[in-house]
Symmetry: C2
Subunit: 280 residues, 2 copies
Amino acid sequence: MNILIVGLGVIGGSYAMALKEAGYNEVYGIDSNLDTLRKAEDLNIIKKGFLAGECNKEAISKADLIILSIYPRLIKAFIEENKSYFKEGTIVTDATGIKGPFVKDICSSLPDGIDFIFGHPMAGREKRGIDYASKEVFKGANYLITVTEINKEENIIFLEDIIYKLGFKNIKKITPEYHDMMISFTSQLPHAIAVALINSDEEGRDTGRFIGDSYRDLTRIANINEDLWSELFFGNKDNLLEVIEHFLNEMSKIKSALIEENEDELKSLFIKSSKRREKL
Amino acid sequence: MNILIVGLGVIGGSYAMALKEAGYNEVYGIDSNLDTLRKAEDLNIIKKGFLAGECNKEAISKADLIILSIYPRLIKAFIEENKSYFKEGTIVTDATGIKGPFVKDICSSLPDGIDFIFGHPMAGREKRGIDYASKEVFKGANYLITVTEINKEENIIFLEDIIYKLGFKNIKKITPEYHDMMISFTSQLPHAIAVALINSDEEGRDTGRFIGDSYRDLTRIANINEDLWSELFFGNKDNLLEVIEHFLNEMSKIKSALIEENEDELKSLFIKSSKRREKL
């Protein structure tokens, strides 16, 4: 099977590494950075790299599976520019963190005979670039597939098989709308919180000497790719605003319990959160 | 040197383990739970265990260093009950997460000739009890000493030497008031946020299948000892309310940027948080 990865950043690079470990040898890559392609070739995780924007017909036309791990906004342009090169029956998938409007938009420009199965690996790194790629990142992770009307059942099964081989533990199939609602809570909200937490520190303090694992854990994802995450935030704006409200409501409960010195209320909030975390 | 650990929970147990690894063999323990004492003896991390409340004169009167790792509110009672047993020159330390009013309160009841050096290991586990103790938890961690007027310089040096031998990397010496201000931000606020985040989830959803490392990291400390942490929250109430306000202010900035679709503003918040996290 011929697999093409478009975009060999931290996610695309991790796909290449995990595919290699899973025994896939016919893996090719497209990237806009020549150094990245050289690195991927040197690491032997792709058979050959192609510079994006040059004629990618050769790479695309031979691919049975294309994994797009580029910025969400670049995906439609990639499809438009290369749609005449796709082989009949090619399966395309992505790694985009939001799905709703994006899926509709892409589906409208897909050529016939191409099955785009939208995917979301729930794994990543706060750093960008192939240097931070790792096959370990997918091990035990969740994977989400947002099924559309045009997806063929046999192609979904085919893709699921590969996903499990890459090390993912659970695959959940849902609608694009449900995906975005859940992800606003489990992914975008935590990122907003981490950013707000570290930005609320006073300037110039020696904070690093006063931290334990809790602050370290809660701010890890405050190191954030601003281009990618502003796309994800704006692309899921309504859901995100709603979960921010729910979160602020819970912060208010803690604040009120403190102000009113309501120990029972504070403890009951702690007991609730502990039970939920144990269950997770 | 004879060392006595009072309270062999997750922190006291970790002290016992780290002391053993550092080569201290004359380590004794007091705990209110007989099983915990047996476990500590079986693990060979204490030489002998004493049940709390029974006559602890023997254990206390021989100790050169006493490490109190019990609930903050129990410390004063322990001092009051046992003050006649302390050996002249004994150094006492603790592991309490708030210092301000607590330090003043304890100092007023200390017998002469006892040097209480208030300490705060910035390391812990979300679980309680000796079963979760580990000598690894202190490795590379921060340690805070809140110096008081009565502390003797040579005793501080003596304690610092032990702290480094246990694996801590940095010791910061500050006033109790500065400690509490910093800790409200680096410790209590992250715990409040983690609790609010997981409590803001809707009941009955299959959230676990939609999470990646970010949600996992941000909610780890939502599993929280409600008795200990309500003491810590109320004991540092004013500082905590202030940092909650700063945090909510930063959340508002993100919210406004979203509502107004102000991409530049959102990106600048992300760039600021990334820089701060890189620096940490």
